[in-house]
């Protein structure tokens, strides 16, 4: 018996044949698990970066950039649009192969993908694609899209972001529900292994049309505990790590040897939505008092100068249509108190708020809570876990809703989801209009079909002004994304922005 045991042990201990040294990139993410990696479903911070490694759009955001201005050809080599801006023709790159044995990418796949993105049964972004009248394959390498109305940012809809990612029709149809965990795209990397709650492993796509990736394997690890993740990066077990969006974190890691900390766009805008139908916030003066009581500079100060900036409008800065000079209420406690008194609350008001227990959001809310208290506004937080929070704010139960979000960088999306009456919570078309804001519907709708870019911007500006003036919401601060990497990691581009919220690993990315 003993002898057998010994033999077995020897077998087990025998060095596992080390093949040629693979280049493995270890990425640490602040999440317990992946959310969705079906590109048309992926919305959370941990999902978006990996989608960008696996998929292409007709066009793509320039790696390292989050700007709509910098779109470049991806699966489409060229495109043209009709004079009325309603018809777009895309000419596809030839010989692009899907991962594995799923064959060549053709116009049929593009049509399928865009239609899939526009179907609410398969996509979370269906609303964005409702503008497409028809999508058809003219020939295997040509796609024609006809719009119901001209929109300025159509290229954004066919970029490698959200619904613009192109999936394999054959794979999606054959795999059915399993496609959710084994999506098939054309990107430089493909999923090879998923260990739930632990990691996702990607292998290089040897047939990638831009060339064989220099990295052989990416291990994307889910490490929800901040301290554990940081320690793993410090000990060298991670090459790239998701950073905490906080000044001290940036400072600490900037001092570590062989470490580069990168603070990148887009910014997530934190807004306090005030429920205009609920007492006492149904009184505009009370809402104004809240607006005066908030000290945006101080919040940004707490969050740290290098990662947070005070908000400038109810739409994040840098979006197409953001009013960079919007007139926000200044910080003025005396005024706030006066307004409260005027509204009949000389002794202050109490606002019941449902608040998520998610630390970053809760921490920010605590600062707001303390600021409002100085003006006699008592925010009574009912802290619930994040999912309960999401469910309950959508049931219109909270007096105020603290919400942080980044969206597709066009003012329309933000305004439409948060401040258009159609999106009001409690209605069938509800999205995230927690304040029951309806003052700018006209401008938002008009801007959406306004072909003239300048006029459109004006409409958006008016809309923002109206929302601000009516105090549907009090914008607080904007939070940039923070990532750190070891110096031996070379992304292959300058990492300044990440529409995907994380670094895009391309064929050029390397680890020396």
């Amino acid at each position: 018996m003993k002898r057998y045991l010994f033999a077995a042990a020897a077998l087990l201990l025998a060095p596992i044949a080390t093949a040629r040294a693979e280049t493995v990139l270890n990425v640490g993410m602040a999440a317990a698990d992946i959310g969705q990696i079906d590109p048309h479903r992926a919305t959370s911070t941990q999902d978006k970066p990996v989608v960008s490694w696996m998929f292409n759009g007709l066009v793509r955001f320039k790696p390292g950039s989050a700007s709509l201005e910098a779109l470049e050809p991806d699966l489409a080599e060229s495109w043209e649009k009709s004079a009325d801006g309603k018809t777009w023709i895309f000419h596809l790159r030839k010989g692009v192969k899907f991962h594995g044995d799923w064959g060549e990418m053709t116009a049929e796949d593009v049509v399928y993908s865009l239609k899939r993105a526009g179907d609410s049964k398969t996509s979370s972004f269906a609303a964005d694609y409702s503008v497409m009248e028809s999508i058809e394959a003219v020939d295997p390498y040509t796609v024609k899209i006809v719009l119901k109305k001209p929109i300025p940012a159509l290229l954004g809809l066919v970029a490698n972001y959200h619904g613009g990612n192109i999936v394999s029709k054959k794979a999606a149809e054959a795999l059915g529900a399993d496609f959710r965990t084994k999506p098939v795209g054309t990107g430089p990397f493909q999923v090879v292994d998923y260990k739930s709650n632990e990691s996702l492993t990607f292998a290089a796509n040897p047939a990638y049309f831009r060339g064989v990736p220099k990295i052989d394997k990416i291990v994307y690890r889910f490490i929800p505990a901040d301290a554990s993740r940081d320690l793993a990066f410090s000990s060298g077990e991670l090459d790239i790590v998701y950073g905490r969006q906080d000044q001290r974190w940036v400072e600490r890691f900037s001092k570590e040897p062989n470490t580069v900390v990168e603070v990148v766009k887009p910014a997530e805008l934190s807004i306090l939505h005030l429920n205009t139908t609920m007492k006492p916030l149904d009184d505009k003066r009370v809402r104004q008092a809240v607006a005066y009581a908030v000290d945006r500079a101080q919040i940004a100060g707490f969050k740290g100068a290098s990662t947070a900036v005070p908000a400038i409008s109810v739409v994040p800065s840098g979006y197409l249509g953001t009013d960079e000079q919007a007139k926000l209420y200044p910080h003025d406690i005396a005024k706030a108190k006066a307004l409260l008194a005027e509204a009949g609350y000389p002794n202050g008001v109490t606002i019941k708020v449902i608040q998520t227990s998610l630390p970053t959001m809760l921490n920010s809310m605590q600062i707001v809570q303390s600021q409002l208290k100085k003006a006699g506004i008592d925010l009574q937080l009912e802290v619930v876990d994040h999912q309960t929070f999401h469910a309950r704010i959508r049931k219109d139960e909270s007096g105020a809703v603290y919400y942080a979000a980044a969206r597709f960088p066009v003012a329309d999306v933000y305004l439409r989801q948060f401040f258009h009456s159609a999106a009001t919570v409690g209605t069938p078309t509800a999205v995230t209009n927690f304040s029951h804001c309806a003052v700018a519907d006209k401008e938002i709708d008009a801007a959406a079909i306004e072909p003239d870019a300048a006029k459109q911007k004006d409409l958006w500006k008016v809309a923002q002004a109206k929302v601000i003036d009516d105090v549907c919401a009090v914008p607080l601060y904007e939070q940039l994304q923070v990532w750190a990497r070891k110096t031996n990691v070379d992304y292959g581009y300058e990492f300044q922005g990440a529409i995907h919220l994380g670094p895009v690993v391309t064929e050029l990315t390397n680890k020396k």
Binding site: R248, W249, Q298, F302, S357, P359, M365, S370, V383
Partner: protein, 284 residues
């Protein structure tokens, strides 16, 4: 032997007083309770006052235990946190003990169908990992002081049912229950005026241990994300915030942990002391 007659006089109370561990534990717990009571006057700063200039500053003479990520004084927060944490601990344990004991004594005393049902019910409750059960309950009820107390109490109930039932069964073996019955006492009188006082020792010992566990559970629930809403300070909440900033400000986790440690040691010493004191067979 004359020694034994003298040992008879060795009451639990007098023996307890002679145990240094128990006395020490008692002092520690009393100090903590006093600290909680005098927090409004004793704490040098407003526990909720934020100061952007003082974020995560290490301990110094002004801020004995340093400041947290909002620039709040950790020492003051620990003092104030003692109120909540001790309240949660004491209340949750008290509720758990009272409910568990009543059920356990009744089940143990009557036996039969009632007993089997009670045992089955505790089996069911004990089939869930305690912490997960607590977490689910808080998720269902919502995080508030009251709900936290309820959730922790519910996890304590089955343990006390088991203990009270077991002790009651043991008591029933003793003649005095029969003596009471032969004197025509009602069942209620026997259970709560005769059996209960005699099993109280063991219950108190276990309660002291559970008290400590309840305080720790509070911190654990805070870690997973559900505890008393901010800005209210609780020890668990501070530890949890400390964990977020462990690499930037370790004091933030260490001091409340030490406070928890002190209470745990205090309570456990009291528990041990009581147990030893109530065991007449333990050598002196």
């Amino acid at each position: 032997m004359s020694a034994s007659s003298s040992a008879r006089r060795n009451t639990v109370a007098s023996r307890a007083l002679r145990s240094p561990g128990l006395a020490f534990g008692f002092v520690v717990v009393v100090v903590m309770i006093v600290a909680a009571l005098i927090a409004p006057w004793a704490s040098p700063f407003d526990p909720d006052a934020q100061d952007v200039m003082l974020v995560l500053s290490p301990p110094d003479t002004t801020h004995l235990f340093g400041t947290d990520a909002f620039g709040r004084d950790v020492f003051s927060r620990i003092l104030w946190g003692a109120r909540i944490s001790l309240t949660v601990g004491f209340l949750a344990t008290a509720v758990g003990v009272v409910i568990g004991t009543v059920i356990g004594v009744v089940a143990g005393y009557y036996g039969g169908v009632i007993d089997r049902l009670v045992v089955a019910a505790t089996d069911v409750l004990l089939s869930f990992p305690q912490l997960i059960m607590g977490l689910l309950l808080v998720a269902v009820l919502g995080a508030s002081l009251t709900n936290l107390v309820i959730a922790i109490a519910v996890t304590a109930v089955p343990a006390f049912v088991r203990l009270a039932r077991g002790s009651t069964l043991a008591m029933r073996e003793r003649d005095f229950v029969d003596a009471c019955r032969s004197l025509g006492y009602s069942d209620l009188r026997i259970m709560f005026l005769h059996v209960l006082p005699n099993i109280l020792d063991e219950l108190v010992v276990m309660a002291s241990l559970w008290l400590a566990a309840a305080i720790r559970t509070e911190s654990t629930l805070a870690f997973i994300g559900l505890s008393v809403p901010p800005p209210t300070a609780t020890w668990g909440g501070i530890v949890r915030e400390g964990f977020d900033n462990l690499l930037d400000g370790p004091w933030l986790a260490v001091f409340p942990s030490l406070a928890i440690l002190a209470v745990m040691i205090g309570l456990n010493l009291i528990g041990d002391g009581l147990r030893d004191a109530s065991d007449p067979r333990a050598p002196q």
